[in-house]
Symmetry: C2
């Protein structure tokens, strides 16, 4: 069957552990997956390399990318742009690698619009109590910040229906394998294998 890559969008509440899951997924299955690298106009921090953490762009360059529709989606936070360059994603997909984008709800919806075959995963802790417990146990956030994050989670949860799968992050190891299993299974989905079905039909007709 088809080995075209799948564009995978991963979202989840802050504290869901999605970053850790994705890192571990890529460490285990390096050949299968590519993590999308965002473009940004913010200054590189120490240790950050162009093309690794981000593609660093001037504002002029970034706005040119917008004008030329070279970004799948972009947003502006404070005074900087952040966006997903189309070229890198498309190259990786064509090479048969599944490309992972870590992105929040609004971005996920934009991606689904442009790439209807994108696979949307939502990472969630097993319960809200567990989410709160994790945020508190970090020990770095004030009570106020935790309350803000819970409020933000409540907003993000309103978009949960838009996702294709929920991934419960209870035990990290299980969760990483769950994500890998979902993606592998999705490669066999009929809508991703129209060409294969057409080939079988033609051959059966003796064409």
């Amino acid at each position: 069957m088809n080995r075209q890559g799948i564009l995978i969008v991963v979202s989840g509440f802050s504290g869901s552990g999605k970053g850790t899951i994705m890192k571990e997924l890529i460490r285990r299955y390096d050949d299968n997956y590519a993590l999308s690298v965002s473009a940004t106009t913010r200054q590189p921090r120490e240790g950050e390399a162009d093309g690794r953490e981000y593609f660093f762009k001037t504002r002029e360059e970034f706005e040119k990318m917008i004008a030329k529709e070279e970004l799948i989606e972009y947003a502006r936070y404070v005074n900087n742009y952040y966006g997903t360059p189309k070229a890198y994603v498309e190259e990786q997909l064509a090479a048969g690698r599944d490309v992972i984008l870590e992105i929040e709800l609004q971005g996920a919806l934009k991606i689904k619009e442009k790439f209807p075959q994108a696979l949307l995963l939502f990472v969630t802790p097993p319960s809200v109590n567990e989410l709160k417990r994790r945020l508190i146990s970090r020990g770095t956030e004030s009570e106020e910040v935790i309350e803000q994050r819970m409020k933000r989670a409540s907003e993000e949860a309103e978009g949960m229906e838009a996702y294709d799968y929920y991934v419960v992050n209870d035990v990290l190891d299980t969760c990483v394998e769950d994500v890998h299993r979902i993606i592998c299974a999705e490669h066999g989905r009929s809508m991703r294998n129209r060409e294969f079905a057409e080939m079988i039909k033609k051959e059966l007709k003796g064409e």
Copy 2:
């Protein structure tokens, strides 16, 4: 998340090996799966037990089942009825077991209509040449029968789009694991976990 069972419909060309795959799947993962048992008005053959190979019914009993809508789908071949009793399927699903129905295209479409959440799998050999090779290598079918089966396969292939996944049966062991993986992954699908999403939303709102 939800552990409600999934109703799984398996179809595929004669010679695709779907029967062998299902038997092996149930042998390996006995706790997860239940094979649906059909009802029929045909006479039991030697060694067949009521409730194991089939639920054996008189014509009157079967027609009463039709009238009382106790069958998910049924069809008449030659002078006998064959159908899928609803009660057994619903009991197993409620007990959290995934129920497997081996059934052809027309039946599969009826099931999807009544159970929109049913999961439709289509088993196919890697190519038409391979299908032909397998039918010939059985050594039991005449050339004419093989031609008939190929013609029938061509008709069945027209319905391939209606299925959710294609499962390529190349190596049996891999194929059995592919099917198991698809079904496990499907348990995390958002449409099967609406209640879980509602629970998370409510808890986040502090309700």
